[in-house]
Each structure stands twice: as structure tokens, then as C-alpha cells.
Amino acid sequence: MRNAYSWLLQLISGVLIAVLLGIHMVLQHLDAILGFFGVDTVDLTGWSSMIDRASQGTFVALYIALLAVGLYHGVYGLRNIILETTPSARVKNIITWSFIILGIGVFAWGTYVPVSLLGS
């Protein structure tokens, strides 16, 4: 049943990426859209704006969530591609665990910056 959960998570993470990436793009790169709706956007990609957002829990949660779902979706997809060219069940297990460890490591590394900025 583990495979079924993994596949379902892949689908859910795909949907979440579309939502979270959409929010990220609109808030930080498509400021013309916000301007169209009357939202005042001042230098969204500037250093001070970034530090200001990094001190807000909502934005930090958004970054971490986007990292988590993007990482899972990417690592699971890459694992599947590599498994397809692996003719041994034992090697498949090694690859799966390697990707789990890699994913956890990258997630921990990726969350370190926003969490440390939040506390500063």
C-alpha cells in the first residue's frame, strides 16, 4: 500500500505546486496583476522587502510548503525515471532510500534559511 500513498501524494503535490507557485508568482513576480487590482506594490524583489516577508510567519510557511511539495514531486518523479532503467529489485531499494535521504537532507537545508530569518 506504500506505493499507493506515494502515488496519491504525487498527485496532491502536483495540485499544491500549481496553487502555491501561483501565489508565489503573483505576489513576487507578477506585481502588475496586483497593481491592476489596486494593491500597492513597492519593490517586491528588493532586499528590504524580502527580509520583511521573511519575518512574517505566513510567508515562511508558504516558502516551506512550496519547498516540501516541489521537492517531493521532483524527487518522486526522478526516482521513477531512474527506477525504470534499473533491472534489479535490490538496486531499486537502494535508489528509493537514497532519494528519501536526499529529499530529507535538501528539505532540512532549504528550511534552515527561512526559519533562521524568522527568528532573527
Binding site: M1, N3, A4, Y5, W7
Partner: protein, 275 residues
């Protein structure tokens, strides 16, 4: 061949004899073509008139046995079911099925496919073994229940879906579309109680490896849709994992009928017999 067979086309056929050749190579034959001629007819012409050593498999010649599956212009077909005129070409490239080991020329070994087919337990699994060994009656099944898996019973085991499948080309452990379709066929059967045994097999190197390219369904000469079966198996596996899937009620045995209806009376003859 009759006089109307004026058109001649080139059959470029892959030849390979493992006892003599180091690698497969192509050989060209000119084949006179008449209206209604199939690719298999062309191969038989080559074997009977041009090169008797050409090896290919065929049996029923009516798209039922699945023995004559080959690649024609890089796409898998049943050669007995494929007319030469369909290709609108003066040249046909004919090769053995992809993703299966070649025995000789156009003959591939279907053993790997049938090994996988056997692995999914393609038979009814029930706990009333005595009834299965010495049946006293039939198992109950509604027409709607039959329709749930009916199309998948049309599989003739020709190997065309496996040859068309891009995942089977790269993943040697993948069970393949044929086995997956049959896994769904037996799992969905209301007379079967073997879901618990089959779903873990389908999950291991099966449904989750499928890319949903749909090439298997596109190529199947019998109209079976293995890609659909794989998606339905995925749905079933996820439902079971989340606890939504209802356990199937095993079809009971239908006792033999003790009542018979009266025969309908013959209508009166409208034409009087001459005395």
C-alpha cells in the same frame, strides 16, 4: 496470383538466425500484391516462392490466436488482420515484435510475457475449493457485473501491447500491459475472491510504473484497453489504501433450477400441406 496482381511492393524483412548471424539484418523481397491481400499473405508468398527459410509464426489467420503479431513499419500489427493496401506504400518494413526476445527472423518468444501473466494468478481464486473442483452448479453473475470486465476477456495474448509499451522497453521488471489488464479482469470478476493476493503483485512492479502513454490500447487489435485497466487498478489500490474500497461480495453458487416453464405451443401452419 491472378493477372490483376500487377503491383509489386518491397517487403524489407528483418532476418536473424542465432545459429548463423551475429546480429539481425534486413533482406528485401519483391511481392506481387492483389486486392485484399494481407501482410501474412505476403509473408507466405515469400516463404513459398522466394525463400523457404523465412521463419514466422501463424495459425488461425483470422485474428483469434494472436500468433502472427509483428511490427509493420515500426508499429505492431496482427499480420493476418492487416491488409497491405492499408499502408498506401510500395515498401513495408517488417520486424519481429519489440520488447520480446527474438527466436528466429520474425518469431519472438512470448515466454517472458506469459511468465508475467502467470504471476498475477489469472484464474478464479475462491475458498470453496470443493465446488471449484467438482462443480454442482454455476456461479451467479449479473450482466452488469460481467460488463465490468468483459472487454478484457477479449485478450488473445498476442504480445502487441507489450511491444507497443514504452515502459516495457526500458523497465525489464515491469509486468506489462497484458498482465495488468488480466489482473484487473480477474480482480473485477464478481466470482473471484483473490483481490488480496493480486493487488500487492500489481502494485510491486506494475501499475505505478505505467506512464499512461496509452500505446497499448492504441495498438491492441482486439479493442482491449489495457491503459484503462491500469488506471482502474490504480483507483482500486488507492481506495483500498485509504479505506474507501468496499470489500467485494463473492458471487454465490446458483442452485440448479427445479422448475421448468411449459413449452410455447407451435403456431398454426399458415401454409397448408398438400394432401
Amino acid at each position: 496470383m491472378t493477372e490483376e496482381s500487377i503491383k509489386r511492393i518491397t517487403f524489407k524483412i528483418q532476418r536473424y538466425d542465432p545459429e548463423r548471424d551475429n546480429a539481425p539484418h534486413f533482406q528485401k523481397f519483391m511481392v506481387p500484391v492483389s486486392r485484399g491481400m494481407t501482410v501474412l499473405d505476403g509473408l507466405i508468398y515469400v516463404q513459398e516462392n522466394l525463400d523457404s527459410t523465412l521463419a514466422f509464426r501463424r495459425s488461425c489467420r483470422m485474428a483469434i490466436c494472436g500468433a502472427c503479431a509483428i511490427l509493420v513499419n515500426k508499429f505492431p500489427h496482427l499480420s493476418c488482420h492487416t491488409q497491405i493496401a492499408e499502408f498506401h506504400s510500395d515498401r513495408l518494413t517488417i520486424e519481429p515484435l519489440a520488447n520480446l526476445p527474438v527466436i528466429k527472423d520474425l518469431i519472438t518468444s512470448l515466454e517472458p510475457m506469459f511468465d508475467r501473466h502467470r504471476s498475477i494468478k489469472p484464474y478464479l481464486i475462491r475458498n470453496d475449493r470443493e465446488e471449484m473442483v467438482n462443480p454442482t452448479a454455476e456461479y451467479f453473475q449479473l450482466p452488469d457485473e460481467l460488463n465490468e470486465f468483459m472487454q478484457f476477456t477479449d485478450c488473445v495474448g498476442c504480445g502487441i501491447c507489450v511491444a507497443a509499451c514504452p515502459t516495457s522497453a526500458s523497465d525489464k521488471l515491469f509486468l506489462g500491459p497484458q498482465a495488468m489488464a488480466q489482473c484487473y479482469r480477474y480482480t473485477r470478476d464478481s466470482r473471484d475472491g483473490g483481490e488480496q493476493e493480486r493487488l500487492p503483485i500489481a502494485s510491486m512492479n506494475g501499475v505505478w510504473r505505467c506512464h499512461l502513454a496509452g500505446a497499448c490500447s492504441e495498438a491492441c487489435p482486439k479493442g482491449v484497453d489495457p491503459a484503462l485497466a491500469i488506471q482502474l487498478l490504480k483507483r482500486r489500490l488507492v481506495s483500498r489504501a485509504l479505506g474507501f474500497g468496499k470489500a467485494k461480495r463473492l458471487a454465490p453458487v446458483v442452485p440448479p433450477s427445479t422448475q421448468t416453464k411449459e413449452k410455447i405451443a407451435y403456431p398454426e401452419f399458415t401454409v397448408k400441406k398438400a394432401k
